[in-house]
Amino acid sequence: MSNDFSRNAHVSSRELGSRTRILHALHIDPWLMLPLIALSVSGLFVLYSASGQSDTMLMTQIRNLGVAFFVLLVTAQLKVATLKGVSPYIFSITVVLLIGVAFFGVGAKGAQRWLDLGFIRFQPSEVMKVAMPLAVAWWLSKKALAPARRELLIAFLMVALPSLLILGQPDLGTSLLVAISGLSVIFMAGIQWRYILSMLFLTGLSIWPAWLFVLKDYQKQRVLTLFNPESDRLGAGWNIIQSKTAIGSGGWEGLGWTQGSQAQLDFLPEGHTDFIIAVLAEEFGFRGVALLFLLYALILVRGLIISWRAQSSFARLLAGALIATFFFGLIVNLGMVSGLLPVVGVPLPMVSWGGTAMVSMMIAFGMLMAISTEHSVTQGMR
């Protein structure tokens, strides 16, 4: 036990208030929990408006949130060591399931994303969003940081295999998020800048072959439309034009809750899912958008602080990767809706309609809380 002491952060005898102590015992990080709750509640208002004041959708979303927060709390109770211990198994099983999807998967609209196990249908790719950072953090924290070339190579393979499997479903959005969740661990682990730069360079070079051989036609269309939405006003450009119009017409103050004409008159497609921030922007104006940014910023900052203070390298890598992945999903959505990025199916975290993505995200926040509230000096093995 004492051997490990030195590798762990020294937990000082911090003065903990009684309330804080209770939350701590429940493994709840209040600085993460409060913005998450605020975000969810504000999201419900926007969703109610975006769904055309659908009580049914509102109730369903409340139920989804309930499940998601429950999952968060459950996850938060796990010990970091447990997480680390199970991560290689979860990862391996999920990879197998992804391969299973490739061969036996079911799906709709030309995409094969679901695995039907008879008693349950689920998306292994969602599980991979969590399994990937766990596994890569586990792998890289086995050896001293920064990782050597051999470790890096294997880490990259761990990232590449599931990402390509998901890309092949095809599900570009999830594939990107999964890849990012793994790559951000590698980044946190201190991969040398020269590798990073040369990888960026290679990525740049690979755009051309990717365009020719990897991207599907509808994906290419989304990219092309980004640069000139007017070229296809009523087709692929419609979403971008309408969402920019919704955002832009909001002004400072917005048109008022449930008063946005773009959203309420059905001009804005996918207003309750991926494009929900356009509804918020139209109805609550820039003030509402700024407030939303503030809530996200609080979560990001808290996530970084948790990573900074974590008790082991594994925990730090995991926390950093989780918050970086959250950040990546967020900016892809914000950028796509405002016409800066191609339309990729990435929801606005905590606000967009939908249960699955929310649950996997809450597992991530649960893990962050587990890391944040870990106070035993005995935890945090390599």
């Binding site: 201190g190 002004g251 958008v289």
Partner: protein, 614 residues
């Protein structure tokens, strides 16, 4: 201890590495979030106006509101063309689940014809997306009930209340009024397309076509909020349409009825003019058609009957019927003969019953020969020749004038020229001259042809309206105004437009008019049968227009000619003779002569004089 030290060094190094990366990550987050926030700031605050406008363009649809078409009333305010509320069945193709199925169902329910469906398909091409396309107008109560009951089978079908043109007098004034019809593809040219957005009908013929621009009115505009599927949700504001102008006619409905009654089944045309301004008091053409049938698309079968009828009911004979004017031109020729000094008031001519040109054995018969076996008399002067319609006198006069002076003479009375009446598709008739014959027929003029033209036969053709206008110049002793059906547009009187100006000394006019009065009032006058019980003075002239040429030695035998080869009867005249209030021209087709025409004139004049006494 060493191991512990190593581990502490490891931990410190890893902390340094990871903290370093967290700082990089934090910086990235800061920069990217700030950048994204700025992006939203640009869209929402800096470019707000642009996107607000874009959003309004999305949300607000400009819909045109059709104006009410101007009504048409007669001189006493009786309604001739009005707009009646009616129900129209329309289909919005986008909202029909299965358009073909809906059409089939409607065919079964309402008995829609192929033509209805064809017109519907036509109209579809001209309308905006998401707007309803009319398919059946003037739904009966039964139709509406059927539609209501079968609503569930008729997706995309709607019933709208709108105003439809209606002509209360039916066929009585049909030719003059014309009708409106559904706008066809070629009815409106591209430059005017915008003026007709939302308007379903356009004037096709008659006054409705001629005055289309003032009757139509101005479109209103209504701005409505629509959703992405174009469904109207709310009216934001509305600029009311400008109703079309009311047309007030010179026409007197009572006179028109009198004409219709007097004409009965006779084919022909009657027109009455106010000589003081050219206003058309009655314009009647028989056979007639009911313009209401055309308003919402006449069926192909009904139209074929009208179009193919030998009696040409679609023809407005008043302006489009071209007939030999026959003896009705004699007073004008007489006046011009005096004017041109080829005859004098005292010139007397012997009428043995025929006339021949010097050195030409051919005999040009006087119509009287057939009745009496002899000519009118051997000392016929102009006045007597007009009253008794002496052909020989006018053969001689024509010969003295020569064809070109004759043509010039009648040209002054507007024969062969459009009157410029306010109706479309007027015909100009034919005023032959040697130049005309060379140009049109391609041969030289023969002296004998001059004689025939001298009695209004041969190549010469005129419309009843032309003769009425010419006669009105006789009535006013020189001045005729452009004939007009419309007296005022939206209360503003149309200006007088002089058309004819014939100058002659007063005694010439008096002599000619005296001959016309004698036509009615002297025992030998050709319209003497008209005077019984008459209480006012009338000046008139009969005419009998040959339809087929009669060979030199053949005699005209009514019984041997088919109905359509029999002669037309004419009567032109005015009353009171001294101070004319009304000028009229009556033509009866294939009735054998003028004796069928003047009773119509008498009935009209009786009505008119009696009405004006009150």
């Amino acid at each position: 201890m060493v191991r512990q030290l190593n581990q502490m060094q490891d931990w410190a190094r890893e902390t340094r590495i990871i903290h370093g990366r967290i700082v990089v990550l934090a910086l990235m987050m800061l920069v990217i979030m700030a950048g994204l926030l700025y992006r939203y700031f640009v869209l929402q605050v800096l470019q707000n106006d642009q996107y607000r406008a874009q959003s309004d363009r999305n949300r607000i649809a400009v819909r045109t509101v059709a104006p009410t078409r101007g009504v048409i009333v007669d001189r006493n305010g009786s309604l001739l063309a009005i707009n009646q509320p009616s129900f129209t069945l329309a289909i919005t193709p986008e909202r029909a689940d299965d358009l073909a199925q809906t059409l089939t169902t409607l065919r079964d329910l309402l008995g829609l014809s192929d033509q209805d469906v064809a017109l519907f398909s036509d109209a579809r091409k001209r309308r905006r997306a998401m707007s309803p396309v009319p398919i059946k107008y003037r739904l009966s109560d039964e139709d509406r009930a059927l539609i209501a009951v079968n609503k569930h089978r008729l997706s995309g079908v709607s019933v709208a209340s709108e105003l439809t043109r209606f002509y209360p007098e039916g066929d009585l004034v049909g030719h003059a009024l014309g009708y409106v019809g559904r706008i066809g593809i070629d009815d409106v040219d591209d430059t005017k397309k915008d003026e007709y957005r939302g308007i379903t009908h356009i004037g096709k013929v008659g006054l409705e076509a001629y005055y289309e621009d003032v009757l139509k009115g101005g479109l209103g505009v209504s701005r409505v909020e629509t959703n992405a599927r174009g469904v109207e949700l709310d009216v934001i504001d509305r600029i009311e349409p400008i109703a079309g102008s009311e047309l007030s006619l010179h026409l007197d409905l009572g006179l028109q009825r009198t004409v219709a009654q007097a004409m009965g089944d006779m084919r022909g045309a009657v027109v009455a003019i106010d000589p003081s301004n050219g206003g058309i008091l009655a314009a009647f053409s028989n056979p007639r058609y009911d313009p209401n049938k055309f308003v919402n698309g006449i069926s192909f079968d009904d139209y074929a009957v009208l179009r193919d009828s030998r009696d040409s009911p679609l023809l407005n004979r008043v302006i489009q019927g071209q007939y030999p004017p026959a003896s009705t031109i004699k007073p004008m020729l007489g006046l011009q003969g005096l004017n041109r000094n080829v005859i004098s008031i005292d010139t007397r001519i012997a009428d043995p019953g025929w006339y021949s040109l010097p050195g030409d054995p051919r005999r040009y018969r006087d119509w009287i020969l057939r009745l009496r076996g002899t000519g009118h008399a051997d000392d016929m002067n102009l006045r007597e020749s007009i009253a008794q319609s002496c052909d020989v006198y006018f053969y001689d006069l024509a010969h003295r004038l020569g064809i070109d002076a004759l043509a010039e003479s009648l040209d002054e009375f507007g024969i062969g020229s459009l009157t410029g009446v306010d109706l479309p598709s007027e015909k100009r008739g034919i005023l032959p001259s040697s130049e005309w014959k060379k140009r049109v027929i391609g041969s030289n003029w023969y002296g004998g042809e001059t004689l025939i033209v001298g009695i209004g036969q041969g190549y010469m053709l005129a419309t009843p309206l032309q003769l009425a206008v010419a006669t009105s110049a006789l009535a006013t002793r020189g001045t005729a105004y452009k004939p007009k059906l419309v007296a005022s547009v939206a209360g503003a009187a149309l200006p007088l437009e002089p058309l004819l100006d014939v100058t002659a000394p007063a005694d010439y006019w008096n002599e000619v008019v005296a001959g016309m009065v004698d036509t009615v009032f002297s025992p030998r006058g050709t319209a003497a049968g008209m005077r019984t019980g008459i209480t006012y003075s009338v000046a008139g002239k009969t005419g009998t227009a040959q339809v087929v040429g009669i060979a030199q030695d053949a005699t005209y035998d009514e019984d041997l000619l088919s109905e359509y080869q029999r002669e037309h009867g004419w009567f032109v005249g005015f009353a009171p003779a001294e101070n004319p209030e009304i000028v009229l021209a009556v033509l009866t087709e294939n009735t054998g002569g003028g004796s069928t025409a003047y009773p119509v004139a008498r009935a009209m004049l009786d009505y008119w004089m009696k009405q004006n006494e009150q």
